[in-house]
């Protein structure tokens, strides 16, 4: 396999999606694109891992997992993705197909029904969570609100997921997550340190009121 650090990867086509679709699922926005940029920036690191199983949680339109597969095009891997919104997993499947990529979606809450068998098997894990600070009562929908509603400090879904990361990731596995400043990344770093992970900020960008960052976690290397 050749390293493709110098090439630029095409952004997945999403022209098959209409404004009507975006009434039901999350429309790719600055946060999604920042995650794509971080994956592109990290492409050598990702390729070196020779991933066998990749998983995106909360795939929405499927643009991120499709892009990851584009980066790894020369490298065959299983691309799984989940979303709590069934419309999203349907659309993610289409997005894969439109871009010549086979992704395997499952409609579920986070990684339920997959976590037992995926224990220690996930080489690349992606999550662009519902990170917006909202009243707690707005969290828990299975529709479009699930795309952003994060409850207090925007951490309700994030924190529920962080406890699962250590079980999922393979020894060298990488976990990429989108956050905003209000999610308090420093605190997330401390939480993950206790689980044995180092955190690095791959990219940061301001978009309107949001100060977005892409965090990368990997097990502390001995």
């Amino acid at each position: 396999m050749s390293l493709t650090s110098l090439s630029h990867f095409p952004t997945p086509k999403i022209s098959h999606l209409s404004t009507d679709d975006f009434k039901f699922i999350y429309e790719p926005a600055e946060d999604s694109f920042l995650l794509l940029d971080a994956l592109e920036k990290d492409c050598v690191r990702i390729e070196k891992l020779r991933p066998c199983i990749c998983l995106e949680v909360g795939c929405g339109s499927g643009i991120c997992i499709t892009f990851l597969a584009t980066i790894l095009k020369s490298w065959p891997s299983l691309y799984l993705c989940t979303d709590i919104n069934h419309k999203a997993t349907e659309i993610a499947q289409q997005t894969g197909r439109e871009n010549g990529i086979n992704i395997q979606p499952v409609t579920t809450d986070l990684v339920e029904s997959l976590d037992v068998r995926l224990k220690g098997q996930v080489d690349i894990l992606l999550f662009n969570p519902p990170y917006v600070v909202t009243p707690e009562s707005e969290v828990g929908s299975k529709g479009i609100e699930a795309a952003w509603a994060g409850g207090e400090r925007g951490r309700q879904v994030i924190d529920r997921f962080l406890t699962k990361v250590s079980d999922l990731l393979s020894e060298e596995g990488l976990f990429y997550m989108v956050v905003i400043k209000e999610n308090i990344p420093e605190e997330i770093e401390q939480m993950m340190k206790k689980e044995g992970f180092d955190m690095e900020t791959v990219l940061t960008r301001r978009s309107g009121p949001e100060l977005l960052s892409i965090l990368r976690f990997q097990r502390t290397q001995a």
Binding site: I53, L78, T107, T108, S113, L114, V116, R117, L118
Partner: protein
């Protein structure tokens, strides 16, 4: 849903269900979709596969082109066998159907090739 994906699904998320594995497949519509054969992918994936679950799933989908009862290291060079495994894991697509929990009988729909594992609140 490919049988590769099915191999990673359990229904132990249901209250009272211990293993919930493997889920039975009640196929409605099954298609064969050609996928490029990559022996390296199959060899890397094999150690992660629950073989008996794959065998059972393939049978349930009407795929009778015998998968052996076990696959050992020494068979990894057998291209013909790897091709059959490739076919079972990647080319069989369950487009419509149901997954059934082996312990509780709870059914999960597969629509448009996508399994829906969501439970009602009173089931978790």
């Amino acid at each position: 849903m490919k049988l590769l994906t099915h191999n990673f699904l359990t229904s132990n998320i249901i209250k009272g269900v211990k293993n919930g594995y493997p889920l039975s497949i009640l196929p409605g519509k099954v298609e064969m979709k050609e996928v490029d054969f990559n022996p390296e992918f199959i060899t890397r994936m094999l150690p992660k596969i629950e073989w008996s679950a794959l065998q059972k799933a393939a049978k349930e989908c009407g795929f009778e082109e015998g998968l052996p009862d076990t696959v050992g290291e020494e068979q990894l060079g057998d291209t013909d066998l790897l091709k059959r495994v490739h076919k079972a894991l990647l080319e069989i697509e369950v487009v419509e159907g149901k997954l059934v929990c082996p312990e509780s009988g709870r059914e999960f729909p597969i629509n448009n090739g996508i399994p829906n594992m969501l439970l009602n609140e009173d089931e978790v």
